[in-house]
């Protein structure tokens, strides 16, 4: 009879696990959720221009801490500091998300051939997240640097930036990239950690939010263009009636 030797000891697997693997994954999701939720708020704050100059002015004063100043005017420094903070969050997110990029040409070819041969919607959605993520590497820092160097926000000052300083071009490119990236990302992070099993509902919600945010963003961009075209340089800051 053949004897079989079995080793019945506590298994010592090779010590290849490193705490940073888990940390990087948690960081990517946490910064992603932060940025995605911030985008939802940001889009609504900036589109308050659709309710008129007065509404936008009040939103800006509130967010810049106007209630803490004697004049009721907020401090642009708040925008500056917050932009620096968001830049740091973006840098962390980009650094850990880089793990996902097909950095080698062979990986890119494998991905393209997979997308061509296998019919799967979520993989295609990820592909668009990858492309928009790459675009955001270049567009987000430009937007944030503008806000750090020149943090003055207001119905007229923002319109000047959009129309006279030609920032509309940046926003027209940034809007679809960031909305698509963030909404697919929020959907993915929810199913990734098993926050919900309602996948089809979430997917619909992500689609609806993408369309809604694109409409909202485009409409407010057009509104700024109209306001900007009515202003003459040098632009005077808006004064509430």
């Amino acid at each position: 009879m053949i004897s079989v030797t079995r080793v019945h000891t506590r298994v010592k697997t090779q010590g290849i696990g490193h705490p940073w693997s888990a940390k990087a994954d948690r960081l990517q999701s946490a910064t992603g959720i932060m940025l995605g939720c911030f985008l939802l708020l940001h889009m609504h704050f900036e589109s308050s221009i659709l309710l008129g100059k007065e509404a936008f002015y009040q939103v800006v004063q509130l967010l810049e801490g106007g209630m803490f100043s004697s004049t009721g005017h907020g401090f642009p420094m708040v925008t500056k500091v917050f932009s620096v903070f968001m830049l740091l969050v973006v840098i962390v997110h980009a650094a850990v998300a880089l793990r996902r990029f097909p950095a080698q040409l062979g990986q890119w070819r494998a991905l393209r051939s997979h997308l061509g041969g296998i019919n799967h919607r979520d993989t295609h959605a990820w592909f668009w997240q990858l492309i928009t993520g790459f675009i955001l590497f270049f567009l987000v820092p430009v937007h944030l640097f503008t806000m750090i160097l020149n943090p003055e926000i207001g119905p007229h000052l923002s319109a000047e930036r959009v129309y006279h300083d030609n920032a509309w071009l940046l926003y027209a490119l940034l809007l679809p990239a960031v909305v698509i990236h963030a909404m697919i990302g929020l959907y993915r992070v929810a199913v990734k950690w098993g926050i919900t099993a309602q996948r089809s509902g979430l997917r619909k919600l992500a689609k609806v939010l993408i369309i809604y945010l694109l409409c909202l963003g485009s409409a407010s961009l057009v509104a700024y263009m109209f306001i900007g075209s009515e202003l003459s340089v040098p632009v005077q800051p808006y004064v509430p009636q």
């Binding site: 019945h8 506590r10 696990g17 490193h18 990087a24 051939s113 296998i118 019919n119 799967h120 990734k192």
Partner: protein, 243 residues
Amino acid sequence: MSQGRQLTFNIFRYDPQEPNDKPKMVRYQLTETPGMTVFIALNKLREEQDTSLQFDFVCRAGICGSCAMVINGFPTLACRTLTAKYPKGEITLMPLPGFELIGDLSVNTGKFMRELAERLKLWLHPKANDISIHRLEDPMAPEEAARLYELERCVECGVCVSACATKQMRETFVGAVGMMKIARFELDSRDARTAEDFYHVIGNQDGVFGCMTLLGCQDNCPKDLPHMQQIAYLRRKMAMTLV
């Protein structure tokens, strides 16, 4: 009975053993019969039109996992795919990507599964006090047995591996089948391995933290295994280990 419609099959043909053979798509025509599956059609084609056609099958009932292939862009089991599903009658068959090609539609999933099992140590590691073969095993709670059995349903067909873009991009990624099996032993109360032990096996870019949640595994698994929940469970579990 009325005459069945004409089906058109576009089948990937390539025999790596033939020195001068080049990969190509070959068209075949076949008359559909009632209840015909892609598996039945392939057998008919081989019997009546081309005896050199290579493909795998054993059970023809979705249990052995041998006949997995890419049918019109979806990796699945040929024996569980009715030709009636395709209103145009056009069916394109490709071998599962990501595996060693034996020839035509036949791939070596067995070699991959064996290497995976050895690498991830996919067998029960008993506790130290369970060494004696004379000792009776403790009874298992029916709920736990049911949970384990649910994950044991995997037939190792390789569909999850082929449906996963992450796996296609990263050769060393363990894929859903690896994680499903790790989860099975993680849930087993008889297994001596701790969360930390499992972390050293799948707590990295090749394991659960390399998964990008593309969910090709979840959407294509012919046995409808709960890959999405299982990987999320492992991710949560592993993210709380080694902190």
